[in-house]
Symmetry: C2
Subunit: 242 residues, 2 copies
């Protein structure tokens, strides 16, 4: 009996996913972009002390030791960069991607331009929508977070981090674009390195920030589609012209 119930649940999930995917394709397929449906995860990790420590040591030029492993001082090791869970893992930067895929089940997508379709935007904060994006020979982590910076007023924060060093990150520009209801919002910036800690990027507000009312204007039936493009970096035109 339990088996049949589980099967039925799985079929329902598949139908739901198919419906979400169809909805996204309807909006974006003409542009020939890959649409990825991203389901929310209730964030379980809010450990500011760890981030502060990580950031301080990154600024000093050493890689941050994980607070679960105070005794380990190998500067080649980085802690788990998953924004969702406080995870005791640490390892070399080159294996962070496989750790995130295997342990935290974060999907990875290929392609220069993709559409990130975050579902169930109404869920209460704190909630994260996360995906990895493989492009131009590197992997990026896209994080959309619903968080209450001011109590009772949830906001959405979206940023892209390179799974690499800050020097490597400076070679790229990422663009996030929302387009609906005759409104368009574009954010372009240099990605931060995953070593800089996504929590501090979001608390600094140095990312795409949406109030609930704007998020609703850009949403379609509770889902928010964000167009993502990554290019190799060039100085922004009007700054270059100075």
């Amino acid at each position: 009996m339990l088996f049949f119930t589980q099967c039925f649940g799985a079929v329902l999930d598949l139908i739901h996913l198919r419906f979400q995917h169809y909805k996204a394709k309807r909006v974006f397929s003409a542009a020939g972009q890959l649409v990825c449906v991203v389901n929310p995860t209730h964030s379980l990790k809010y450990a500011p002390t760890r981030c502060t420590a990580a950031q301080a040591s990154t600024e000093q030029g050493t890689l941050p030791p994980c607070h679960h492993h105070e005794a380990v001082h190998d500067p080649q090791l980085v802690p788990c960069t998953c924004p969702l869970f406080s995870c005791p893992w640490e390892g070399h930067l080159e294996v962070v991607v496989s750790h995130l895929r295997q342990t935290h089940r974060i999907n990875i997508l290929q392609g220069a331009e993709i559409v990130f379709l975050a579902t169930d935007m109404h869920l209460p904060a704190p909630t994260d929508w996360i995906i990895m994006h493989s492009c131009l020979g590197h992997q990026f982590l896209l994080v959309l977070r619903k968080q209450e910076k001011y109590e009772g007023h949830p906001q959405f924060f979206a940023t892209m981090m390179l799974i690499g060093t800050p020097t490597q990150a400076n070679n790229f520009t990422y663009r996030l674009e929302l387009n609906r209801n005759q409104r368009r919002l574009k954010w372009e910036a240099t990605p931060r390195s995953i070593l800089e800690c996504v929590d501090s990027v979001i608390s600094d507000g140095d990312c795409l920030v949406l109030n609930t009312s704007l998020a609703q204007l850009f949403s379609d039936n509770g889902s928010l589609a964000i167009g993502i493009a990554i290019t190799t970096s060039k100085v922004h035109s009007s700054e270059a012209e100075v």
Copy 2:
């Protein structure tokens, strides 16, 4: 003696304005855009009842009577649309521009693309930076407002309103662009009609919204440069392709 003090004050003001203008030109002159230095005005008008009444009557298809003139019911008359002052004036839509220029000293600029340079961004909320923009045979009102929606957390709201009817407004698209520190933020939308009341557009959050931290990232020495462009409306590309 008073005369000399005033003369000295005027000369200092001129030097300050010249310096601001030079600063803006340094950033934007290469693009051949007209730079307009806009000084802040501490907002004296917060009268939500008037706006609610105005909006309700606009939705019903009649033009809003001003609350200072309850007895007047001429549907051809509109109240003063100045976002800064509670002004008892009312008149025909065609003379709103000259009223705003003459009575409220709001500057008007010509050109398809201009740069709005708001000075003294650090001033406490509520503060408004306002200018009129003449383009494509119509006049637009650009409002940048610093306001505390959540106490202790000021935000910046920027929107463009057509000094015309909602039907006329649907023929245009406006773009606001911030570009500094390797970050770029663009907002594109259909302007609202001045009859819809700027206060409600801002309280709905249907405009470009900046947290203080983002505003600081885009500011240069306390001034925020916003590139403005107005075009005749076309359906946004990805929506048209559906």
